[in-house]
């Protein structure tokens, strides 16, 4: 079994083991209704993780997804109050907002040449600040208004028990898997993530790949946030505050190596499932929000360390100096 498959099996086993534990301890865990609810919860994190995974595989990071989600949600809410607007137009507006945010990130990274994490950390501040600015207010105090636009909120409902957002998530996962494996763009993304210099020398357009990653990330986050707003019939300004970090944790668990070049869309899917299950389970066993916070941080560190130490995946090229030779090796 090669390394890639081994890592896949490990993350799949984690999900199955967790599910088995919950199925043993709770009677209605395996009921169709519960599973569909869990899938709905996983969908938002899943979509964001899917987007972020593209940026991470290409060797970057996107910390602004929380801001993008909050901004997209409020744009949707604002749009849905325009009388007579069809729901699909609201969704389109949300997705376009996400893409626009992704484009700004891409511009900052490729043209202004900021480091990814500085650029996206700062642009994340800007997006969440913008969300606060366009939020609904009463006497200056932010309030969350219920969205009554029926043609939009229908996107948050389900067909035969399966929520639309889950369907969108699964379709997007398949689509992204195809993009990653079957297209030149996907191949180049892996090349760029593994070794940006040699990729560039072999004719990969670095800026194009980076921009593509950020645009796809913005698209996925915008889509996810719009669908969640439709489900909740409200756009809280805190919509994205947790999801950005959860998505990175999901990616890491799913074997998408921070540093680039490893992992795929299925990994993001498995990681999101794992994270949703574990957070959900914690809540069921009455563990406080404190433990959720500790657990998420712990998962990221453990999973990254595991990948670096035991899977021997190149997280960051560690500088090793061989004594006597004066040569730099990896």
């Amino acid at each position: 079994m090669n390394k890639k498959n081994l890592r896949r099996v490990i993350s799949a086993m984690l999900v199955i083991a967790l599910a088995a534990v919950f199925a043993r301890t709770s009677d209605h865990f395996l009921s169709a209704r519960n599973i569909l609810q869990l899938l709905r919860e996983a969908s938002f994190v899943g979509l964001v993780a899917l987007g972020v995974s593209f940026v991470i595989i290409g060797g970057g990071i996107d910390l602004s997804t929380g801001g993008i989600a909050a901004l997209t949600g409020l744009v949707c809410a604002r749009l849905s109050f325009i009388p007579g607007i069809p729901g699909i137009a609201v969704l389109l507006g949300g997705v376009l907002t996400g893409v626009a945010c992704g484009a700004i990130n891409a511009f900052l990274v490729t043209k202004v040449r900021l480091t990814e994490f500085v650029a996206t950390l700062a642009s994340g501040f800007v997006y969440s600040g913008l969300a606060l600015i366009i939020a609904f207010r009463r006497n200056g105090i932010i309030e969350s208004r219920p969205i009554l636009n029926k043609s939009f909120t229908v996107l948050g409902t389900h067909v035969g028990g399966v929520y639309y957002i889950t369907i969108v998530w699964l379709v997007m996962t398949v689509l992204m898997m195809l993009v990653l494996t079957k297209t030149n763009f996907g191949l180049h993304t892996y090349a760029q993530g593994s070794n940006p210099k040699s990729a560039q020398m072999s004719g990969v357009n670095n800026n194009f790949i980076k921009s593509g990653g950020f645009l796809i990330c913005g698209f996925c986050v915008g889509l996810g946030a719009s669908m969640v707003v439709a489900y909740q019939s409200a756009a809280p300004v805190t919509l994205g505050s947790a999801v950005a970090f959860q998505a990175i944790a999901a990616c890491v668990v799913g074997g998408i190596v921070l540093g680039g070049g490893r992992g795929d869309a299925i990994g993001a899917l498995l990681g999101s499932l794992f994270l949703t299950l574990i957070l959900n389970g914690l809540m069921k066993y009455g563990l406080s929000i404190a433990w959720q916070s500790i657990l998420q941080g712990g998962i990221i560190i453990l999973a990254t360390t595991f990948d670096a130490q035991f899977m021997k995946l190149p997280i960051k090229r560690r500088v090793k100096v061989k004594p006597g030779t004066g040569k730099e090796g990896h």
């Binding site: 990071i61 910390l63 900052l108 202004v112 040449r113 900021l114 480091t115 994490f117 500085v118 650029a119 950390l121 700062a122 642009s123 994340g124 501040f125 800007v126 997006y127 969440s128 600040g129 913008l130 606060l132 600015i133 200056g140 932010i142 004719g203 970090f245 990175i248 921070l258 540093g259 406080s288 929000i289 404190a290 433990w291 959720q292 916070s293 500790i294 657990l295 998420q296 941080g297 712990g298 990221i300 560190i301 990254t304 360390t305 670096a308 130490q309 997280i315 960051k316 090229r317 560690r318 500088v319 100096v321 004066g326 730099e328």
Partner: protein, 334 residues
Amino acid sequence: MKKVIKFLGNQWGQRVTILVLIMVVMAVFQQNFFKPANAMSILLAISLYGIMACGMLFVVLVGGIDLSVGSMAALTASILSIYADRSGYTMAGFLTGVLVSIAACILVGIVHGILVTRFALPAFVVTLATKYIIYGVVLLVTGGHFVHIIDDGIMYKLGNYRVFGQIPMPIVIFVLCAVICALILGTTVFGRRLYATGGNPVASKLVGIKTDFSVIVSYIICSISAGIGGMILASMNMQAGPTTANGYEGNVLTAMVVGGLNLAGGEGGVTGAVFGALLVGIINNMLILLGVPSDMTTFVQGIIIISAVSLNMYTSRRSQGIVVEKTKKSDIKA
């Protein structure tokens, strides 16, 4: 035009320009800015950011970043308040609180350092993760509630005492921190090794510098200074809890980039950090005086970080005479 670029390329040129711009804006819109009482409130804010920025400086010098300073400050604030509160505000209780806090800082710093050096994880991932872990610990320690400090002894004096009846205690501590950091960086062997490690890790290792050690120590210093900031903040607010120092890492990071420090490491000094903290304090104060809603601060912060880093990159490239030339497609084919 060339002269303007050269002036802006000079760090002091940038700093003076920004300060003059702020002065002009404030002179036009809000003259209260220049009142002595306001200067005092600015100085208090600066001293908190400044203490944390001085610590973060060490980490930035070795090419890392610490996003956990806000949580770290909340942790020490909570630990100190709880120890002081439980002991009935005795000196012994206060000192135990300080010692336990510092121990916690050292522990966190070592964990950061080892994960970054031994396990070679990216610094921002490690510290982002520990930010959440420490926040969880704060919630556990405080039970999610605010600890209120009811004391007029040492716990009150730490943040509010006026030396000579004039200068607030935090400012004195800030100046002390800045001087100590400047001495460490400027006069000790460790300081030189820190710059070397940040400037060129491979070369430093080849000449026999224990780079891992430098990095670990710098993370410890960063955590401790964040912790000191947190303790002072607890005393200034007379309370501590989960939301204490929330989002301070954004302020400190802004101070770093506004101060003209290169986030890639190896360049910069205490003056940069102090100036950055000064500017962040002034800008936050300016926003409040101009009546900008507090929700806007994150937005402004984001804009400032982006523009400061871009300006740094642009001017440093220009002033060094390095103009990045685009590779033409015809060159590659040939």
